[in-house]
Amino acid sequence: MSEPLKQADIDGEIAALRAARAGEAADHPARDYGPYRSTLLRHPKQPLVAVKDPEAAELSGPVFGPSDVTALDNDLTRQHLGEPLGERITVRGRVLDRQGRPVRGQLVEIWQANASGRYLHQRDDHSAPLDPNFSGVGRCLTGDDGGYLFTTIKPGAYPWRNHLNAWRPAHIHFSLFGSAFTQRLVTQMYFPGDPLFPYDPIMQSVTDDSARQRLVATYEHDLSEPEWSLGYRWDIVLDGPAATWMEEGR
């Protein structure tokens, strides 16, 4: 093996790709993004094949209902006998489609590291402590206005092995379903003002500045609850077409 890659090498690659893609209003990251080394062997090189079929099965999607969640699933601080350590937060927002219509009754799933930056996962070997009172997993269904709400603790930043001294900014992983399989989204929510943003190739893979900004939640003081939690808002807009019959509402 050669010298391990340094942050400065990654910084240079990030800057070069940002310059090369300047002016391209891309909503999503390219699948080949060299600074995130795991993309190298895992992105297709052939162009995607367009499907134009109005009957395509992907224009509908799975449905979820109240039997798929329990009332406590969206409170990650109440899943154990004791309370987790860390800064208690509430995260709320709405799930919308590109027309701004609420996505109703659909499943939202989240997972995250604990306050120390450690996942409850056998392959996470970061030497930060596990928290016996925190699993870091939640789910809920969106309401009639597309709204969701989670109570959790603020996740810590954590190191990874993309390059020497690589650290992920604090983030919560989100998985979302729309009314069509084509609207499926897995993404990550970040916290405002995190100093690690410029060094993180996963976040920087979104080279369009305004698109990248849409990954960052807003601290909203009015959403903070006195003597209880700090409040963040993060609205999510799902991409991709839905079947036209969905417009009548489901």
């Binding site: 999503h28 094949v49 798929d68 897995v186 990248r212």
Partner: protein
């Protein structure tokens, strides 16, 4: 409105996304299985596959209840085995292998969404179990590319479908615009 960008599922979704019986969409039908490979031909042990399909009659009405929960203790009860939800979710194992048990889709194909560490944006593909007559989408592909979407019947009721993210045998991935 501008969409929220995609980000990788990462390696640590294990407690959040897979669930018991995620690949048991229906009993008594067919099994589809295979590996996920990267561009070096190595298995991908941390991919997550999702499946969406019509029932045997071609209905895409998918009932809720995929993850049915026990309201007493919150445990996952899974599907009731009667109503067809049409949705499955399977993480690849240490060999990059996965298995789905389901019924033959009435419209001819099973839709697949691929997530993995290293994939910044998920990928869509389709499994055509066997070749059940004409299909306009398949017929528009070159024979070589078409082959990547057709699952071969290994023995009665068991179909093989490998996913190649990159390389000579790269799977056809789809764009819905």
């Amino acid at each position: 409105m501008k969409p929220t960008p995609s980000q990788t599922v990462g390696p640590f979704y294990g407690y959040a996304l897979p669930f018991p019986g995620g690949g048991e969409l229906a009993a008594g039908g067919i099994a589809v299985h295979g590996h996920v490979y990267d561009g070096a031909g190595d298995p991908v042990p941390d991919a997550l596959l999702e499946f969406w399909q019509a029932d045997e009659r071609g209905s895409l009405a998918g009932a809720p209840g995929t993850l049915r929960r026990d309201p007493t203790n919150g445990a996952i009860l899974g599907r009731d085995g009667v109503r067809f939800t049409g949705f499955g979710r399977v993480a690849t194992d240490a060999d990059g292998h996965w298995t789905l048990r389901t019924v033959m889709p009435g419209n001819g194909y099973i839709s697949v969404c691929v997530f993995a560490r290293g994939l910044l944006h998920h990928l869509y593909t389709r499994i055509y179990p066997g070749r059940l007559g004409q299909d306009a989408f398949l017929d528009a592909l070159t024979p070589e590319r078409r082959q990547t979407l057709v699952a071969a019947e290994e023995r009665e009721g068991v179909y093989r479908f490998d996913i190649h993210l990159q390389g000579e045998k790269e799977t056809v991935f789809l764009d819905f615009g």
